[in-house]
């Protein structure tokens, strides 16, 4: 017989044991639940999981499209906007459980194919595929000549200018590189905001090498000079960065960095999140994606933001054309769901909702995720009812240039970014030597990839 104290002690102990077991169970059960998630996805009533690379405001527009999809088809969708997209996608890849569909840069196609992330797509089985241009479909070919993505949105980088500043200083719309230089200097030195302080600058440049930002920003100038990074001949890639045109472009860009005030101070370390000069009212020019227009309109007033046709370089006025695709995850156990949602995303209806313009109705926030529609039946100018988007559409039509999408271009872009950043960081940098160094590094990487 145990004494009353011993019994009380035992009871206390038993309670502790029970609670400890309960806590362990509570922790372990969700862990096991996670691993069974993938098997459940096979059932047809399981929602389609879709990821996009977006911030909060863009996510709202995606939610509108997806809500319309569920209303029209009855198929449920789990949506996750992801800011650090590729980092999180790698994590899901290591679990061999990618989201069924994901929308991301068209330029990532080659890398995703190389990593085995994507399922091949048969264009003819996609309903409404004829409403997309052949050119857009061609941009989804892998190196094996097969299609790996469905085009979703296209856009071009455009030159955005503070109209009120330009008019105050009586400057014409810049037509050449020299005009751009002159305007940048004028914005920096002639007090365009009229506050009597020297606190304005010419242009915004995301100049860090991190994630290749400076290469993305500077590529249109390289192309406008007649240069390029790589060239494909007979199915093989070679570096053409060593050509004389490159030097001209790099010198022009360095002139901007080394003329006080032409670029926002500190630009050499800025990424796009930190390069706020235009929306802060500190800088008057920004070569950037047209999707930023809504942000600029809100920050400095729509009437003060103008989009001008890309100024001409020595050769032409090429601009950076980019876009987003819908990718089908190779790990997905829901192929019919993937197809159904992708088909919906390219319909006239979904594309118009995605453009989220005030003219298309709806309460806003007016943040487009479909910048230029891929569906040829949608007229961007009419939907946006904004002539600036007409200029964007022209730029995309006339002189577009994209990075090669079918290879893993990111390491190549990084090599260019690292060296461009070095050229601009020092006003006495040895540009020819750095170009030669870049060329050698590009050739080595191309050889390593065997492309």
């Amino acid at each position: 017989m145990s004494s009353p104290t011993a019994r009380a002690r035992k009871l206390r102990w038993n309670l502790r044991l029970v609670s400890a077991t309960a806590v362990s169970a509570a922790l372990i059960i969700p862990l096991t639940a996670c691993s069974t998630e993938a098997t459940n996805a096979a059932k047809s009533d399981t929602p389609i999981e879709i990821w996009t690379r977006s911030g909060d405001t863009q996510a709202k527009t995606y939610q509108k499209i997806l809500a319309a999809f569920t209303a029209d088809t009855g198929i449920k969708v789990t949506y996750k906007p992801v800011a650090d997209f590729d980092t999180q996608l790698v994590t899901r890849a290591t679990q061999k459980n990618l989201p069924d569909l994901f929308i991301n840069d068209a330029g990532s196609l080659g890398q995703y194919v190389a990593l085995g992330y994507l399922k091949q797509i048969d264009r003819t089985t996609i309903k409404g595929n004829d409403q997309l241009s052949d050119a857009n479909w061609q941009e989804n070919l892998g190196t094996d000549g097969k299609i790996y993505g469905v085009p979703f949105s296209r856009q071009a980088a455009v030159m955005t200018i503070r109209k009120d500043w330009r008019e105050k200083l009586n400057l014409p719309i810049p037509k050449t590189w020299d005009d751009v230089t002159a305007m940048a200097t004028a914005f920096a030195t002639k007090d365009p905001d009229g506050d009597g302080k020297a606190n304005t600058y010419g242009m915004v440049v995301p100049g860090t090498a991190q994630s290749g930002y400076i290469a993305r920003w500077g590529s249109p100038y390289l192309w406008q000079a007649g240069g390029d990074i790589v060239k494909q001949t007979g199915g093989k890639y070679t570096s053409v960065f060593g050509a004389p045109e490159t030097k001209r472009a790099m010198e022009w860009i360095r002139t901007q960095f080394c003329t006080p005030g032409n670029v926002v101070p500190g630009s050499i370390n800025l990424n796009t999140t930190d390069a706020l000069g235009f929306s802060d009212g500190k800088a008057g020019m920004y070569l950037t994606g047209a999707y930023q227009l809504t942000v600029f309109d809100k920050a400095v007033g729509k009437e003060n933001v103008e989009v001008v046709p890309m100024p001409h370089g020595p050769k032409n006025n090429t601009t950076f054309a980019e876009g987003e695709n819908v990718y089908f995850a190779s790990t997905s156990k829901n192929p019919s769901g993937q197809k159904a949602l992708a088909e919906y995303l390219i319909t006239e209806k979904a594309q118009k909702i995605g453009m989220d313009s005030p003219a298309a109705g709806g309460p806003g926030p007016f943040t487009s995720v479909v910048r230029l529609p891929v569906n040829t039946r949608v007229d961007a100018g009419a939907v946006y009812a904004d002539p600036r988007w007409g200029i964007v559409a022209d730029a995309y039509r006339n002189q577009p240039h994209a990075y090669p999408w079918n290879i893993n271009f990111i390491p190549l872009r990084q090599i260019v970014a690292d060296n461009m950043n070095a050229m601009m960081a020092d006003c006495n940098s040895d540009i020819p030597a750095l170009i030669a160094k870049t060329d050698t590094a590009l050739k080595a990487e191309i050889a390593r990839q065997g492309i």
Partner: protein, 310 residues
């Protein structure tokens, strides 16, 4: 003494209780250990082993990893960008550690004492330690604005120094990154050294003063030997922390300009997540682990040896 008197029966009781538990159910401790062990397994040991495996592979989860032997390590060791990153990391580690420890010691000596004013001053100085490194990075990026109206530049103008490019100048960027690191690390060192100073018997100072020892002699012969244990801890921690420096560099400069502030961890990050080469990144991370371990052992050996001599 009351403390000991009161606690004795409690200790005895606890021992008895423990004995009865052990006797009754030998698996009981394991139930309690299960949760922390599970966490350590899932979040520490499995990732570590996985990282070692990945460093010997070409990692492509969906196509199947390929074993590549020591290829990744060879690539890290022959990559000129990693060489530069290594150099910057070592410069930063050595300079930052020495400066932060020296500054921590000066602060500790200045702010030792029980006065309320000192407590307030200590709290103010300690604030950087409890502030998120991301916030510190953003704040310093504002302070170090390379414009005429930048905060630090404005102050420099008062003393007749012209506008500095600071983080935008490839020749000075590493210095400024290091300065921010020292600013954040010195107060932590101060705290540990303060604890060390409190542990030194004050009568030793008095005795030395009576014997005619001046301020510097007391510092050298009493305070410093008394702080040996604290200094050993700080040096070890600072060395490890400096080698793993990431957040402040990533936020302040992203490794630029012209790669002048690229450190080992930022290089690992961009290889792993920008270039998606997880095998190469794991190999570099494993090398960092080895370097950290060697450095830790070395730091402890040095301080112990120094202690034996004193």
């Amino acid at each position: 003494m009351t403390l000991t008197d009161a606690s004795t029966p409690a200790i005895a009781g606890a021992a008895k209780l423990r004995h009865s538990w052990r006797g009754a159910k030998p698996w009981v401790p394991w139930v309690f250990l299960a949760i922390p062990l599970l966490f350590a397994l899932v979040f520490k040991f499995i990732p570590l082993i996985e990282g070692i495996r990945m460093s010997f592979s070409k990692v492509q989860p969906l196509l199947g990893d390929q074993f590549t032997g020591f290829d990744n390590f060879a690539r890290v060791l022959t990559d000129s960008r990693f060489h530069e990153a290594f150099l910057h990391t070592v410069i930063l580690a050595v300079c930052q550690t020495i400066t932060a420890v020296a500054l921590g010691l000066i602060l500790a000596l200045l702010f030792e004492g029980a006065s309320r004013k000192l407590q307030i001053a200590r709290t103010v100085i300690f604030l950087p330690v409890v502030t998120a490194i991301a916030v510190i990075g953003e704040v310093w990026r504002l302070i170090l604005q390379p414009t005429d109206s930048g905060l630090l530049n404005t102050i420099l103008h008062w003393v007749g120094i012209s506008t500095q490019q600071m983080l935008s100048d490839e020749n000075s960027a590493l210095f400024w990154v290091g300065l921010v690191g020292v600013w954040a690390a010195a107060p932590y060192n101060m705290l540990i050294l303060l604890a060390g100073l409190v542990g030194i018997d004050r009568t030793l100072y008095e005795a030395a003063a009576v014997d005619g020892a001046g301020r510097w002699r007391r510092l050298y012969y009493i305070a410093l030997p008394g702080l040996r244990a604290s200094l050993s801890v700080i040096l070890t921690l600072a060395a490890i922390r400096s080698l793993r420096v990431f957040a402040e560099v990533f936020i302040l400069t992203g490794g630029g300009p012209a790669g002048s502030t690229e450190v080992w961890m930022t290089r690992i990050y961009s290889i792993g997540f920008d270039a998606n080469d997880l095998g190469l990144a794991s190999a570099a991370a494993l090398l960092l682990l080895l370097a950290t371990m060697i450095l830790t052992v070395l730091a402890r050996w040095l301080t112990n040896r120094k202690g034996a001599q004193l």
